[in-house]
Structure formats: structure tokens, C-alpha cells
Symmetry: D2
Subunit: 342 residues, 4 copies
């Protein structure tokens, strides 16, 4: 029997990606789609690639009858999100894709997002949605906070290494390369094809990227003591995909074995043979994350490379993975789509 799904904020890329994935999900059915500024339009008008689907018309949030909804995905901008979710029915299952409930400490939220949190109680209630590490908490949760896409990539590369203490916790560099769909459907000059194609540049460098809040929170929790990584994101002329090159101090073979062992039974996390490094083009459009490890010519240095699709495993695919758990479905339901290549 199909679970009834609502998607708030269906006119952005993560909203559209949820629709794409649910289109072939055998146990979910979309009953409501909201997009305040585009209320009244059909999804085919906003995203013609979804034209073949029979979908409800876009509406305002206050037009949705949530008594008829089993689970609600919230793909709204941060700040807006906390206000919207605070007003939704208190027993509605919610998977949030924004940044609003990722940080459990009120002060940290204010530090990274520049304003006090408007719903601190919900902030405490929310479960951090990195599925592979929080399954037990996610399954019974009412409100799950999807992770940042960069934050997910870095954590897949590092959590088992930090937990096992096989690397130096005080000298970790994450050099990250991100596709442009992670910036959303924002109208900015540097996201225009004419400006982005054929070139690359850093953004939010120098320890200013907000996903550092997630890294700090999670890595410190895993380590049992403060851990602060160095993090430099780059924007690349590609639409989907993140590649994180992670520089660690430790024995490369041990690093590889630690990851391979930690993820041996994970359906979506794939550790390549030692010395083989992954490519973003092998996970585009899918919920898979590929990881590789190589040593350096200087003993004691290792490089971990992790790749995933920011819109799928880094966002909407992860959200469905969490929703599957919350709805009592098999975690992989509807998510085994193969990547698309070329």
C-alpha cells in the first residue's frame, strides 16, 4: 500500500529530484506539492522534464490537508523552514532537506547562520539524517534533518577513521569539488553558463563554509573531543557530483581497511580496491557513494577520495532513504536506480 507524500518547496532542484525518484518508488504516492510563488501552476510548467507524470497542481502550504499525508518532505530555504515546520501538525513525520535542524546547539546555529533559531525545541528533537550512522534514531524519529551535501561527502570519508583513531585528528584537509546544482536554482552571475562553464574557482574558503558547523559537531561527537578540519570547496563546471579529496596522516593501508570494513554491508557505500580512486561520473543520478584510498610516496600520508551526487545521495536520495526507514520500508526501496553514463 502506498504511503501518501507531500513535498513542500517543489519548485527547486531538490524538490524536483524528490519527484524524479518517487516517480518509480513502488510504495510512495505524491498527494501534495507546494511552491508558494508558483502556486496554481502545474509541475510540467515549472519542470517540463516531469511532464509525463500525473501530479497534483502546485499549491500554497496552507492549502494542504495534512491529515491525508503520511510523510512530508520539506525542501524550503533555511530560516523559512523553521517557521514553516513549527506550524505543521505535531505528529506529522517530516524529512527536512534544509540546514535548519542539522546543528543541535543553538549557539552553533546562530554562529554559522547569522541569526537566532526560531524553533529551538524542534532543533533539539530533530535527528541528524546521515542514514548509515543514525539508523536506530531515524527509524522512530518524527523529524529528521537531512545533512549538507558536502557534509555528507566528508563524513563518509572520515567518520570510521576518526572513530577508529587511525588518523591524526588535528591535521585533516578536505579539498572539495562541487557541481553547480548544489547552489540551487539561484539567479547569480557566476552561475550562468557563460561564466561557469570551462572554469573553476573556490567559494567560502578560509574556514567560512557553513557545512563546517556539521563537520565540527559530528567529528567531535565521534572523536569524543573537539575536531576541526580545514575545508576548501571549489565550484566546477559540472551539474551533479561532489568529489572530496581528503588528506589525512595515517597508514594508508589501515585507512583503507578501516573504511572497507566499516562499509562492507552498506548497500550504497562502495569502497574501491586499494589504490583505485573514484570519479563523479560513475555515480551521477544515483544514491551511491564511491570511496577510494591511496598512499603517498611519503609514508604516513594517505588520501581518501569520496564521490557522490549532491542532489541524490547528498540530498533527495538520502531524504528518501530516511523516509523509507521512518515508514517501515526497506531502506533501499526505490533507490537502486543505476547511475547515468555517459
Amino acid at each position: 500500500m502506498s504511503q501518501k507524500i507531500a513535498i513542500l518547496g517543489a519548485s527547486g532542484y531538490t524538490g524536483a529530484e524528490l519527484v524524479r525518484l518517487i516517480a518509480t518508488h513502488p510504495a510512495m504516492e505524491i498527494v501534495a506539492l507546494s511552491a508558494d510563488r508558483k502556486a496554481g501552476m502545474t509541475m510540467a510548467e515549472v519542470f517540463p522534464f516531469l511532464r509525463h507524470l500525473d501530479l497534483p497542481r502546485l499549491c500554497r502550504i496552507d492549502e494542504i490537508d495534512f491529515s491525508n499525508v503520511d510523510l512530508c518532505f520539506c525542501a524550503l530555504p533555511h530560516a523559512t523552514t523553521q517557521e514553516v515546520i513549527a506550524k505543521l501538525p505535531q505528529d506529522l513525520k517530516i524529512v527536512d532537506l534544509s540546514a535548519d535542524f542539522r546543528l543541535q546547539d543553538v549557539a552553533e546555529y546562530e554562529k554559522w547562520y547569522g541569526q537566532p533559531h526560531a524553533a529551538p525545541d524542534l532543533q533539539t528533537e530533530a535527528v541528524y539524517g546521515l542514514t548509515e550512522f543514525y539508523r536506530a534514531e531515524i527509524a522512530p524519529a518524527r523529524l529528521v534533518a537531512g545533512t549538507g551535501c558536502n557534509a555528507a561527502t566528508g563524513q563518509f570519508a572520515l567518520r570510521p577513521l576518526i572513530a577508529a583513531k587511525v588518523i591524526d585528528l588535528d591535521d585533516i584537509v578536505i579539498d572539495l569539488k562541487a557541481g553547480v546544482s548544489g547552489a540551487g536554482r539561484s539567479l547569480k552571475e557566476n552561475l550562468l553558463h557563460a561564466e561557469l562553464s570551462g572554469g573553476t574557482h573556490t567559494y567560502s574558503a578560509g574556514g567560512r563554509h557553513r557545512h563546517l558547523g556539521e563537520f565540527d559537531q559530528e567529528f567531535s561527537k565521534v572523536a569524543g573531543r573537539p575536531v576541526q578540519v580545514q575545508f576548501t570547496p571549489h565550484l566546477l563546471p559540472m551539474n551533479r557530483g561532489i568529489l572530496a579529496t581528503v588528506y589525512v596522516r595515517g597508514d594508508a593501508k589501515v585507512v583503507h581497511e578501516t573504511l572497507a570494513s566499516a562499509y562492507a554491508d552498506e548497500p550504497f557505500l562502495n569502497v574501491l580496491p586499494f589504490g583505485t580512486l573514484p570519479s563523479t561520473r560513475d555515480i551521477a543520478g544515483s544514491n551511491f557513494c564511491h570511496l577510494g584510498v591511496i598512499g603517498d610516496r611519503k609514508p604516513g600520508l594517505a588520501v581518501v577520495v569520496a564521490v557522490l551526487d549532491n542532489l541524490t545521495k547528498g540530498s533527495s536520495g538520502q531524504a528518501i532513504q530516511n523516509a523509507n526507514l521512518m515508514l517501515g520500508l526497506d531502506e533501499t526501496t526505490g533507490l537502486m536506480l543505476a547511475p547515468i553514463f555517459p
Copy 2:
């Protein structure tokens, strides 16, 4: 119960696309994959994006036990194909993706492909695989010849118009824009990223493109008299997708109504409202074809634009659609994947 599938020529793009689609097909199971020069390798070595699948190792064709195979896809180069298929068991169901069995007239084959056909009997037996127009013949067929991807795009735009005689049959221009995956995994300078990205050029212009053989055969059959279109293909810096801009003489509204009416019940052919023209980005990775019609400021001139994904609806998706019919399955089984955007 799953149908057992073999794929010959699994190391090319159309072979890999077959595997991608069958990966989530509920009634097909891959039991053999051949690739002569890469025999012995795993599919993950040749196409790491398929790494998550449990697939048979690549082998030589003569190593396959066809008694265990329900249907065989043949994704080999033309000329080679006719020799291979001639040696396969005479009762094996085959969907061929090459050009070898598309032209029913031996002389036409020789004219367009520059050599005599080595298996003229099979050539006569083969059914032309444009599913929407040959369902009745395809379902009981043993050997189905998949169409050219350009040829499919042009035919979807034109067949109903020619059949209904609502356009001038002697003044048809197909200006076609094609993504580079249609050229296959060939190592040619002009297919390098450094040379192709950011530019466009024509190829096989001046009435020399081999898909003209298909256009001639099919349009003349539909019209009941010789029809020869003018056809100029262009290579674009994109990987998937074909957009055909078709110039016809006729009443634009009538042209639109004729197409809309012809395709009203087709699950994969989607005619947009009059005056709306489609984009390749709305069908990437899917089996859908979108069509649009617009009139010109000069009465009596109309433009039909058709888009599809050359690897899916233009090749491997079409092949599975035909295989579904040949195996008694619902024609859309496994093919309702949404396009991927962005």
C-alpha cells in the same frame, strides 16, 4: 518470472545503457555479457558506474550457452553484426541495435553501407523496430532491427504527417542536432573534450548520412510513393539528446492536430501544446520523445521539433520496448524512469 537476457557487445555505450535500464527492469535478468576484446574483464572494470550490480563477467560470444537465453540484444558494430547473427541459434529471439537489418532492400544496404550484405535472408526476415508503428509485427518477430537514433527522431516528427498527406512530400528539411554519445566510444580527435566542447559543426551533410536510407525506405512506404527528405545533422557539445527541427509546408494547426491525434494514446510520445517547442534537457536518460509544432509568420509553413535521448528512446530503450513486446510483457515495463534534470 525473469526472462534471461544476453547482451552481445556490452562494452559500448548502447550495451552499457541496456545494462543500466535492465538493472531496474522487474522481469529481465542478465545471464551473459560479451565483449570480444575485453573478454575476461568485469563490467565494473569497463564501466565503473555499473559497479553496484552483480553481473556475469564479460566473455567471448562463443562461450555463451544460448539454450539458457530467452532473448539476446546485439549491440555490435554494423557489418560484424550480420556475421554474428547468422551463426546464432535459429530460434533465438534477437533485438539488434546495429544498422545491419534496418534496410530491407539488399541494394539499398549496399548503396548506403558500401558493401554487399552477408546475410540477405535474415535481412528480409527482420522487422523494423520503430515500436509505435510496427507493434503487430514486432510482437511475434524473432529478429527485430532497432532503428537509427536520428532516423527515429525524424520519423516520430513526420510519419503521421506523411500518412495523412497534410504536408508537401517534396519539400521536407530535417535539420538535426545530435549529442556526441551517438558516435559511440570511438577514439577520434573531433570527439575529444578539448575539441568538441564549446563548439558545433555539421557532419555527413549533403545527403550522405546513412540514416537517409531509413528515411527513404520508411517515408516512401508510408506515402505509397518515393519521398526523399533533405537532412543535415550537426554535432553538439552535449552527451545525450537529439533535437530535430523539421521544416514542412502545410497548415501548422493541422500539422499539430495530426500529431496530437496520432500519439494521443502513446505512453512515450508526448505532443506539447501548439506553439510550445521541446528541449533535449527534458528527456535526458528517459524513453520519452517530446514533440512540438509552431507556425511561421508566412502562412503555409510549419516547424515540427522532436527531441529524444539517442541512447534510450533512440537505441537501448527502444530495444527494451521491443523486447518487452517479444516476450509478452507490457511494453512499458522497466521504461518509466523519469528523465534526469539538471
Copy 3:
């Protein structure tokens, strides 16, 4: 001795392209740059690729002392332009890159641009800036109106053929493929990298593109009677370059000879050997236009393909070519930069 140059509207792509070209022009010196909304900024802040140049700071137009200016390039949006130019000194030499002075007939301007012209006297005075065909008028002119980039491409392919009457004037189709820089630095969803890259679509199809006004005016003038072409532009995932595929009825060899003969002495117009068709990647960043002609398998049909860089030969390069003439310089001064490849 250097000519003193002002550029109005220096914060757009054509303004920046003017600066790029003048940077190595031996006889021009930039003395003023305007950009109303960015007045006060340096050019390096707006366009960091120009950081190495010693340029005047951006200012408002009313801050410029035009008594110190030999020639002014005006790269402002249409409609704004006519108001600005009407207020400039009456003896200032001006090369305008907007659409405002391309159409000599007031009614035609209103028809294509949707509003009455605010400076009809100047409209009559302006010389149409297609250099190769209006040299005698441009050299002494005070106000020259740069052509549309698509309009230039189509005219290079067709003017000599129409003049020589070697083609049917009533059956001409221009199927044009354009890079995205032609749309300027506009913030629109369909110009985002995430949406444009990897796909193609038509725009202003059906006889609605404004450059048809130029085609009508010029082709009718050349023919001595009304000529209306059919014109379908497509947007491609490339930044620079236009490729026009022009379908004409006439003897292909005669068509080729007519073009080759007409352009034999042109430094920027290069007719390829018969049967060879050009690529946009061979003219990027340069002021060259390459043209090719091929026949069809059906006698009496020919295809002319013309390529140029919309920002250079289609706009800012053409503007400098005209300015050279107006300033008594050799027409090619500063414009012999080789294309950039790859």
C-alpha cells in the same frame, strides 16, 4: 597617435569584449568607461579577467567629458540607447552596438520592438554597420548601427546570392545555432549552467525573432523587392559562436562560386573549398567568418553554412572594424587576433 575612446555600458559582455580587443589595438586608448549601476567600481572588480589593464574607473555617462573623446562605443540595452545617444554631443562619432538604429523604417522598429522610436531623426541618419557591404557609407558616417549577431551571420551567407539572383528568393530557411553569450549577462533560469549545459532548445521560433527585421530590410534592399526568410534560432551549450545552416534552392557550385568570388578580397570572410563546411570552434575569439557550401543528393538544393563569433565579428569586433574606418585607420587594425583553440 592614439584615438581617444569612450565605452558606454562597459559592464556587459559586449562592453568587456570591446575592452579586450582595444587592449592590444595599437591606435586606440580608452579614456572613459560608463556603467550606471556600477559607477565607482573598477573594471577589475566587474571583470577580473581585465585586471592587468590600466583602465579608467567606471562612471556615470554624465560624468564623461566628451570633448576629449574621438569616438564613443555605445553598448547599452535597446530603448535606453536611443535616449542616451540623443543627448550626446551632435558631432561625436558613435558606433552603437544595440538594436536601436538598425532598422531605418520607423514603423518596422515599432513592429519588432513594440514601442515607438524616441529619436527618429537619428534613426534615419544612422548607417547600417555590416562593414563589408557599407564601407563607403561607414567611413564618413557619424553614427553607425552595429548589426545583430544572428543578422550578420545570415547576411554573410546570403547577400551575394540574393544580389546575383542565383537562388530562389522565396524559399530560404535559416536554421541557426547560437552560443549563450549572445543573451548577455542576463539572470534567467534557462541561462544557468545547470539548465543550459548539455542540452539545446529553440527560442523565438515561428518568425518572431527581432533580427528578422534586419533580414527583411537588407535582403529586400539587395533584391530590389520584398524577401522574407524563415528563421529558427537554437540556443546551444556553448559560450561563443553562431553557426547558421542556410537552405537555398539553386545550383550548389554556382552558389559556392558566387560567395567565393564576392569575398575573394575580404580579410575576415573566408570561403572554404566546395564541400567543406566550417565549425564554430575555428573562429572563437576572432573577427573571422568562415563559410562553406555543399550540394544535396537532390539537384538544385544547396546548403550554405556560416560561422562567426557573436561577441567579436557579430558585435564588438565588427564595431571596432567600423570605428577603424570612421577614424581613418586601416580596417583590420587590432583585429587580426587568431582564434583560440582548443
Copy 4:
């Protein structure tokens, strides 16, 4: 008076880039172009973008009369190069763009290139061609060895810092992002547009990239003791450009001041204001290198980002810069072309 120039290996990308730059160089004239496998062809046939130039036909090396040549650029593959140059006239000025004469230690050459050097005497004679640091040696040299493009980028970021000892010499990470033209016109599957566009991956990771030989040689020389950096190159879906993200331990402000001071008078090296980081799109097609420095939230960590165009400043532009010095010309002659954007 023009200097007479020969280019050996004119059919590759660096050869073509030499021709592009020399096309507008006021004091160089090309008198011979070699390309063994394409001898007899015109340059326009091999590189149609150079069609407008009047160039000598491609020939075999042994057909060139070197008595008529003032300076010879050698753009041949490594290994071949050493054999060719050994046979050239002993007094011919040569700028080599291959890897053959970059490493001065015979053992190092053999270690990184896997075979003994065939011309060890020339290896000792050759001057390392990083212009800004070897001007005094380059001007009187007969044989100058152009640097690796990645090696140049890393050295511009690091040499002044190592010389001034303002960073920890034992903890330097260079994470480098490279455009695909650096791989040359090689026919490899992973360089095809269909495979490279839209994705990224590492190559020669783990301390195996040959440019490490140059880093080791030069950084150790500057430091006066062995220095070994960690180096991970990535291939990006862009044609031109390298961005090196360099992680160092030191005071970020001091790092910035050291670079700014070192390069204050350099015409091609441009240090941005503290905290501003550069983009590859701002140097494409030019001989400029932009550098930026930012601190981390953790004191004592700095990131230096350097960008340049691999074909120009990283290869052919550098070669001409060196040739200018060797011929007694101003070092910047012909090299002040502005970058191309968009």
C-alpha cells in the same frame, strides 16, 4: 626586423598555441613547421582555426634548412625530443617544451621517466625555463627547457615562500585542478567529451605524477635542503586552465605579503588583495598568472591559490617569453593579449 622561427611538432596543441601567439607577435616570423606524420599537409588542414595565416607547409625535420632559423621551438613528445635535439645544429637557439631537459640530474630523469637519458650532456647544458626565476641564465642560454604546466603553477605559489622560509617546508599539499588540453591531442577514452564532460577524477595521485621531479629539484634548490611536497592532480571538464590550491603552515598575512612583494614588478604575475582568490576563467588564453591567499579559521594555516592557462603561461606563452629574452627582445613582446571571457 623579424626573427626567423621554426616549430618542430606543430601538429599538437602546444605547437598550435605557439602559432596562435606568434601570429600577432611583432618580431617573429615562422619559416618552418614540422610534423613528421602530417608532413606535406597545410596547417589549415590540421588546424582549421589557423586558416587565415600564411604559413609554410608542414614538413619533416630533415627538410628544414636551419641556417635560416634564428630560434627553434621544439614541441615534440618526451624521449623523442632528446634524440631530435641532439642532432640539431650545435649553435641553434632552442626552446624545448617537452619534459626531456627539465631535470638536471640524470638519475632523477631515469626515475621519473623510466628510461636512461640519451643526451646527458645537453641535459646538463639546458637552463630551466621558469622565466621569472631564471632570467639571467635564460637570456644567454642556447637551450632552454620549458617547465611542466602543473610544475609552473605550483612554483609560482610556493617559491617565494620557501625562499623566505615563512612556511613549514615539511607540510605542503598541492591539490591541483587541470583542464584537459594539458593531456594533449591524445586519443584516450577518458578524454572523450562523452566521458570527461560533467565529471571529475584524480590522476597520477599518490606521489606518482612526473612533475614531482621538478618540484623536488626546484624546491630543494630554493630551500637549500630536500623538500618534498604532496601533490594530487585532478582532471576537470574544462579545456584550458589550472587551479592549484596549496595548503601551507604559516601566517597567512605574511604569506600574502611575501608573494605580493616578490611579484610586485612582474608583468605576468598578479597577486590579488588578501582574502581574494582567483578563478581560471580570468586567465584563459593569456600569459597571466593570478595568485590569492586566504587564512583559515585555525591560526597558522594558509591557503594559496594560483591559476594560469596551461597552454599559454604553462607552456607556449612561457616558451615565447623565454625566446624573447634569448633573442634580445622585450620579455613581454607579443604576450600582452588579454584573456578571453566569457
